[in-house]
């Protein structure tokens, strides 16, 4: 129904203006995007690192050579054929623990960033599109959440509700909702000035439809860029909270928790403290480099900035 109305509009200016929403065939656009990203060496490196961590997390149960919780008498063992990275203070296989730690890290950061993008995006879309009093009230709430340094807000949530994977996700989500709200609201404010928005309103589209069909596709690029960067900081916050004993609880393996436990033995076996931090760095660096590349390609206005 809607598409037939659109086709019936003869005015070329209106059809041209409508174009951005239904830009070039998505598949071709996506291929161009990947090509552009591949040309940037650091973005390709970032993609490689992030993909390696993601695959490790996804396939942990099959890749891990041993049960991450299984203790053995071979404590603080040096790397060997049986245990590539050696064993920890309980004789548990370090590589297996790192792989399962990646799983926790990815589950927490992807769910938190996804939820925050969904909630924050809806808030930003509504506030930016409707404007007026709705905008004022929503943005005041966002300002209040922004008044807490990210880690402090996450700490406060976990301190109140207790440390668990679910509460970790909730804490990180709450800390990121305001960021997504602001990013989306800002883009909506500029996108809604476009003629194609006016055009779809003239065609009789309702607010909900304009928001979802005309505006949303045009604000996705900055959201994707923001989400990539936030994945890297979410990995860091998860690790920090688990390090402080407020996130994932032992014996379940998590990078932050492993680093924290290693502190008691690190003079005996420094490697136990080095390895989990290396894993965190690898994951965070991957998403940061990939995000830098994505931003350059998707949002050329920001190129070279920051």
């Amino acid at each position: 129904m809607a598409s037939s109305t659109r086709e019936s509009v003869a005015d070329p200016a209106v059809t041209a203006a409508l174009a951005p929403a239904a830009a070039a065939p998505p598949a071709a656009g996506r291929r161009r995007l990947w090509r552009e990203l591949w040309r940037r060496k650091t973005a390709a490196l970032g993609f490689g690192l992030a993909a390696a961590v993601l695959l490790g997390a996804l396939l942990a149960p099959w890749l891990a050579p041993a049960d991450p919780l299984a203790m053995s008498p071979r404590r603080f063992a040096a790397p060997s054929a049986g245990a590539w990275l050696g064993t920890d203070q309980f004789g548990r296989d370090l590589l297996s623990r790192l792989l399962h730690g990646a799983r926790v890290s990815m589950v927490v950061s992807f769910s938190a960033v996804g939820l925050a993008a969904l909630v924050g995006g809806s808030v930003g879309l509504t506030a930016g599109y409707l404007g007026g009093r709705v905008d004022l009230v929503l943005m005041r709430c966002v300002d209040v959440l922004m008044a807490f340094p990210t880690l402090l807000l996450a700490l406060a949530v976990v301190a109140t509700l207790g440390g668990s994977v679910g509460n970790l996700v909730l804490a990180i989500t709450l800390a990121y909702v305001p960021i997504f709200s602001r990013v989306v609201r800002g883009s909506v404010l500029s996108v809604k000035q476009n003629e194609f928005v006016e055009a779809s309103r003239a065609l009789g589209a309702r607010d909900g439809r304009i928001m979802l069909v005309a505006i949303l596709p045009n604000v996705l690029a900055p959201v994707i860029v923001q989400a990539t960067f936030n994945l890297s900081t979410a990995i860091m916050i998860e690790a920090a909270l688990s390090f402080l004993g407020l996130g994932v609880q032992p014996p379940q393996p998590s990078w932050g928790g492993m680093l924290s436990e290693a502190r008691n033995f690190m003079e005996l076996d420094p490697w136990l403290a080095v390895a989990p931090g290396g894993a965190i760095t690898m994951a965070v660096l991957g998403f940061n480099l990939f995000g830098d590349g994505l931003r350059d390609v998707l949002d050329p206005r920001l190129r070279g900035e920051g």
């Binding site: 005041r140 209040v144 990210t150 109140t160 402080l244 760095t281 660096l285 480099l289």
Partner: protein, 316 residues
Amino acid sequence: MRSYVAVRVASLFPILFGVSLLVFAMQALVPGDIVDIMMGGDQAFGDRNAEARLRQQLNLDRSVPERYALWLGSALRGDLGTSFVSGKPVLGEILRRLPVNLELAFLAIGFALCLGIPIGTLSAVRRDTWTDAGIRFGSVLGYSVPNFWLATLTVLAGSLVWPGMPILQYVPFAEDPWRNLTLMVIPAFVLSLTVLPLIVRMTRASVLENLRLDYVRTARSKGLPERRVVYRHVLANSLIAVLNVTGVQIGVLIGGLVLTEEIFILPGIGRLLLESIQKRDFPVITGTTLFLATAFVTVNLVVDLLHGVLDPRVRR
């Protein structure tokens, strides 16, 4: 200018009001009964009278809005409650530890600015050379390395390289200023690495942007040496953007302080917060959170105002 200041300061109040609501909600949302937690959850041996007295003391017999009003009223008068554990006033505990945080924060920002601005400028002036590429990659790497890992490794390196090195100690400044500084320099330097990469990036971007502007061409065509163009004209104008990003980074620094204090065992507000979380000492948790959020908002306001002073365009 005066009206700009007035508007900015006035905008602080709704935010602080919201912050207080949220922090109060934290207390109200605690799963389980706060009195049970305080009494150790030991119902069988719990003294009914003591329990009732405690409930009255904490205003738990009143409605939630009443409790909020009472809590906010005392908070405004500087009474953030008393610790369940130590029985001391929360604000006093916070203020006692504040010097540690201020010293760490100022040293860290100082290190970050003293290193970040020259490195960023160098990167911009040598644009698209290996130096620039190295600095840019280094700064991405820099903010991808978890600071609490670096801090842990620093402690480790200290104990391996120099056994018995007095790294995990704290001596108040008033007691022995020189010893205090030598002990604080390492944690502060490690902490400064949380904000250094962004200051480098911001300086680079801002210097590059300014180099493109007309006044630079004018300065060059006047025959000024390039050195003078960059340092006297461009850098001076670029620092405004650096100031802004530094303000935003205070939040990162506050989060970093919690971890730094935990790892280097420094008696600051961050450790107070962590200890109170472990002991479920709710007045201290809420008091510290409220204090840190208020400090963060206030510092940001000051940075905004400074920005207004330095750049008349933002005052409009």
